[in-house]
């Protein structure tokens, strides 16, 4: 393949979230254990001026959205990472860690309301000021596979008896691993 073709994207919006730094945020938005509030975080997505608000039309009937975003605090990538659940290092593409070849994030969030250029959201694991590249409606027939097997994550959860990633750790020195 032609490795030299690059794709450039301009943020369509910015996310305002209560999580100021990585140690504050849960590893997934569905996990709230250990966060400051202990509840699913609410956040606001503000559409950029260059995107006509008509693009948001009809979005208010969806209970969930996908956010695709730039992991803007990511500082380079590595082949393998040590996940916060424990266990050995894993191939980065078999994790949701931010240290990816392309630092792109994906999260399903709850849509509470659309107010003009603003989306009110709940269940967010994004850091404050995250640049949003795309918003898509969550469509169960294409997106929901509750019986999907999750490899090393299932195996580790069976061992530990937990069913989700750990919450954020207490603030401490920046450390390189993530889920």
């Amino acid at each position: 393949m032609d490795d030299e073709t690059l794709f450039t994207f301009r943020p369509i919006g910015i996310l305002h979230s209560p999580y100021r730094q990585r140690i504050d945020a849960p590893h997934q938005g569905t996990v709230t254990e250990g966060t400051a509030s202990g509840a699913a975080a609410e956040a606001t997505l503000e559409l950029a001026d260059w995107v006509d608000t008509r693009a948001l039309q009809d979005l208010d009937g969806f209970s969930h959205l996908w956010l695709i975003y730039a992991l803007h605090r990511s500082e380079g990538w590595r082949c393998t990472v040590k996940p916060p659940r424990g266990g050995p290092k894993r191939g980065v593409l078999a994790t949701r860690a931010p240290h990816r070849p392309n630092p792109i994030g994906l999260s399903a969030v709850e849509l509470l309301a659309v107010e003009g250029r603003k989306l009110n959201l709940r269940g967010v694991d994004l850091l404050n000021a995250t640049p949003i590249l795309d918003i898509k409606p969550y469509v169960p027939y294409a997106d929901a596979f509750p019986e999907a097997r999750a490899g090393w994550i299932d195996a580790l959860d069976q061992t530990t008896g937990k069913l989700f990633a750990p919450g954020p750790r207490k603030p401490r020195e920046e450390e390189p691993t993530s889920d």
Copy 2:
């Protein structure tokens, strides 16, 4: 927000699929009605040379993956689009149409096997030669919301008695709408 910050990504791989043009491909990978074979399409994802294969380690235990990719055939965006299910124009961000402000695609696909730098996949709606920007494991606790409400799509499906987007149309002149 600062609208001038751009994010540039280099493909981590390329997808080899049986769908040569848009009229051949289903509107979602879970829909096979109307495709040439009538079966879920198999495809191969080949990792780019610049990505170490160790990044794929541990991926083989997952039954499903997310592909995030460039909609490389997209020719600009519009605020509203007319979906193939029928009904009026909808805000583009309330659809999965390719004519998005940032032409980024998202598909959940089945992982059949990992063979060196190649992933064998099933249930693919991507066109041949699609540049892949990221691969993520599908993790049900974060990604599966089978009860999510799907706004205008649910409403239209109730009216028509169908539960999914139509399959591809017979080859004909390029037309601008999609789901």
